[in-house]
């Protein structure tokens, strides 16, 4: 072994100073170098998720996003998708804390009348092999074309229309909860004078209450 530097005060301070300086400089360079790819990866992920859930669009939904406040929780983010000036759908980045392992984030694509176009899963910590099946096509297909205002999005166990994932009822309930939250937020934000919409808002408020007691 090479002879070590003695543990004098000066030696210790100098050694630690050099080590931390070099480390900090290296990290600064790596951060600068990866900053752009990380931002790009995040944006691409978001745009891909939006593409999956709304019809074809020509604008950049990320540049005209807006926030919708949610009662008793964090706001959800809405990304309107336009195809040549015409609103073809709005992607809502929604969430729920009711998952088996907490937070689940979904991107829900709603047609202008509130009908679900499609849903994609952004983030979750559910059990692999159980709750992770929420990304499966057969499960998400159940939500497509439904309007949460008139259709009951709860799982069959709770008298709804959705087949829950086997052994993952809690994840399925959470999924429905997040989709419902997206719809409620969207409808509340864009209150339109159509009678059907007024009706459905009443409905969803009632359902929201039941949902909480059921859980």
């Amino acid at each position: 072994m090479a002879n070590k530097k003695e543990s004098t005060f000066i030696n210790m301070v100098v050694a630690l100073l050099i080590v931390t300086l070099v480390a900090a400089t290296t990290l600064g360079f790596v951060y600068e170098f990866t900053k752009a790819p990380i931002a790009l990866a995040k944006l691409n992920k978001k745009l891909n998720a939006i593409k999956l859930v709304v019809p074809e669009f020509t604008n950049n939904p990320d540049s005209i996003k807006y926030e919708i406040p949610v009662e008793g929780g964090l706001p959800v983010m809405a990304y309107p998708a336009y195809n040549n000036e015409e609103l073809v759908g709005t992607a809502i980045e929604t969430y729920t804390m009711k998952g088996f392992s907490g937070l689940i984030k979904l991107m829900v694509g709603l047609a202008p009348d509130g009908t679900i176009h499609s849903v994609s899963v952004l983030e979750h910590k559910e059990t692999p092999g159980l709750g992770t099946h929420m990304s499966d096509e057969w499960y998400i297909n159940q939500y497509k074309g439904k309007n949460p205002g008139t259709d009951n999005l709860k799982v069959k166990k709770d008298m709804g229309e959705i087949d829950a994932i086997t052994a993952a009822t809690i994840s399925s309930r959470a999924f429905s909860d997040a989709v419902q939250k997206a719809y409620d937020a969207y409808v509340n934000y864009n209150i339109e004078p159509e009678s059907a919409v007024v009706d459905s808002t009443l409905n969803t408020q009632k359902e929201g209450g039941e949902n909480e007691s059921a859980n």
């Binding site: 630690l16 050099i18 790819p37 692999p128």
Partner: protein
Amino acid sequence: MSQLTNFTKGLLKENPVFVLLLGLCPTLGVTTTAFNGLGMGLATTFVLVMSNMVVSLVKSGIPDKVRIPAFIVIIASFVTVVELTMQAYLPSLFESLGLFIPLIVVNCVVLGRAEAFASKNNVGSSIIDGLGMGIGFSLALTLLGAIREFLGTGEVFGLQIFDSSYGMIVFILNPGAFIVLGYLILVVNRLNKA
């Protein structure tokens, strides 16, 4: 010690997971699938090799009393490099490993090898030691992940082998990690004695 035994000791005889029982927190936490196990193993291997190399390079310049903080700073830097790079170029793997990437810093395999090996040996041996230990760690995690994934969901690396409805859920959940790890330790120790 020849360089070959230096390398192979990490694979079986001194396997960090099965024999030294180091770094069990990420071992139990991320091995729900073989792919996650492999990803975590490779990330740790990179940190191990780099930190072993640097620690062995600077060992004579670092006074004994402050060696642990100095090693931790070196290790933490490499972990952050891995974290940023993975986030930039492998975002999906980064998401599934999540919290466990920053936790490589406190993985005792890494600090353990820096302290027990790299601070006493030359650069070449230290790199080989890190590589052997890292590959042993990756093998252990991948094996554990593959067994748990297979028993729990009927898949290995996402490849369906039997229908997932026959899967035993307990193996994907935390208790399954302990059960499988226990049996693997049994098998490896039996092999080592033979």
